[in-house]
Symmetry: C2
Subunit: 263 residues, 2 copies
Amino acid sequence: MKAPRDVPTPLLESLKSLGLTKYEALVYIGLLRTAGATATEVHEISGVPRASVYPVLDRLVQKELVSVSHTTPKRFAAIPPDQGVENLMRRIESDAQSARTALDALYREKGPESRGDQELIWTIYGEENIKTRLAEMFKSAERSVELLATGDLLQRSVLSLLDPVPGSVPVEIVTDHWTGEQPSRFRLHLLPLAALCETPFLAKKLLPYERSGVFLVDDTRALLWMEGAEGQPSALYSESAGLVLFVRRHITTVMEWAKAAVQ
Amino acid sequence: MKAPRDVPTPLLESLKSLGLTKYEALVYIGLLRTAGATATEVHEISGVPRASVYPVLDRLVQKELVSVSHTTPKRFAAIPPDQGVENLMRRIESDAQSARTALDALYREKGPESRGDQELIWTIYGEENIKTRLAEMFKSAERSVELLATGDLLQRSVLSLLDPVPGSVPVEIVTDHWTGEQPSRFRLHLLPLAALCETPFLAKKLLPYERSGVFLVDDTRALLWMEGAEGQPSALYSESAGLVLFVRRHITTVMEWAKAAVQ
DNA sequence: TAAATGTTGTTGCTAATATAACAACAAGGT
DNA sequence: ACCTTGTTGTTATATTAGCAACAACATTTA
């Protein structure tokens, strides 16, 4: 009989978030290391109290993670991991689906009324969320789209979001680095690299972090994308006149400075 | 201010299985029905105690389900449901991935040694699990594949699994119903419908449930697929000589009976 | 201006629930 | 008689839920 050798905690955490309890995880892991064990053997291998093993095994069978033999005493075997994890995911995915539809019903109920967004500044966490918001902004553009972003951010995350901008709306892009040909769709302003290198201090000021950007749509909606070196990215979004004005000025200033430096 | 109108419990359950606590679910749902609420308003809308609202909102921000405004007092807004659920699923999916690899490492450690399968009869729950096991059986067939199944089960779940059967292995199929042309790949035995209708009692005996089947590979591995009217399907699998013999006889008997009835 | 009021955000404590762990025992097999 | 299996309670322990009290700050009112 094998020792109840200890199990890495991160694995336990992962399994918990898939809906297993600690015991269920321990028993399943234990069973993976054997082939057909009795309840008592499961107890010995997993370190789970013998009396607790029975209900736990019942639940695991219910969750389609183990199969049972028709002998006395009963013997138990684990379903292979990929199959088993998929079984768990299927349940969760179905929950996600029903939650999605139920929540969506509630969400639509309120309609897009009084966008409290008006004078507030929102912080959005997570790249996905930021990109979704940016996409909304771009799609709803009516008069202008201006953006000032590091080449990195621009190419990797933002450029693909620009497709839905209506054809009649001019798009102005200011960046420090551009690979590929000049795009006809956008008006491109390249920050003079030479000047940037001469004054790294200034470069830092204009494009402070590794990946960062400033986005302005219709002179009414602004988004500031900032990404600390380590953590997840976050962004500020606002329709506040004050912040919009500030962004407005910032972009203009940078463009003016770029023109001056080029001369 | 809206009432903390009660929330359907199944929705709460779904959200719990996505890793939210009851309070987190209530607050998120509450936020979906407004646009930018203060902590106190969240408390009123969701029915969650005001003091509890703060830690809960913190966690929701962490989980990328709500965004925060930079005002005093802070205001909170929900990320749209589909986006939010996707954010939750991303975490879970990543947990599933790491669990899969970690478990697989453990699983391989033991190798396919001492197949305890030898003399045991296993019950397998869930259609996916059964199909996986059937696929394994078919793929490893070396001498013969025989199956006796209701037409329904055959066409909907089993037929597609037969592809991996090695070309040199003969496949015998006994069923009550077959649509489409005669397959060249298999040897097909149709149970005489007329006789079946005359003796519904017998029909029930031979193919007891709605969807059921008996599968025999190489005269050494047998699987009995049974499906109660309501619950999830289950199956018996065995390499036990006794059970295999029994299945062997059963299939032969049915085929003999069919021949006799036809005359 | 100063007291009165009200709201926000915190802290700490208690209650309820789900999970974990143990003790005891009946049934059956050796 | 002994040991093992499977079952049933009962007791811890951890997580979550719910409450009360308070300091900080702003707004009103005398």
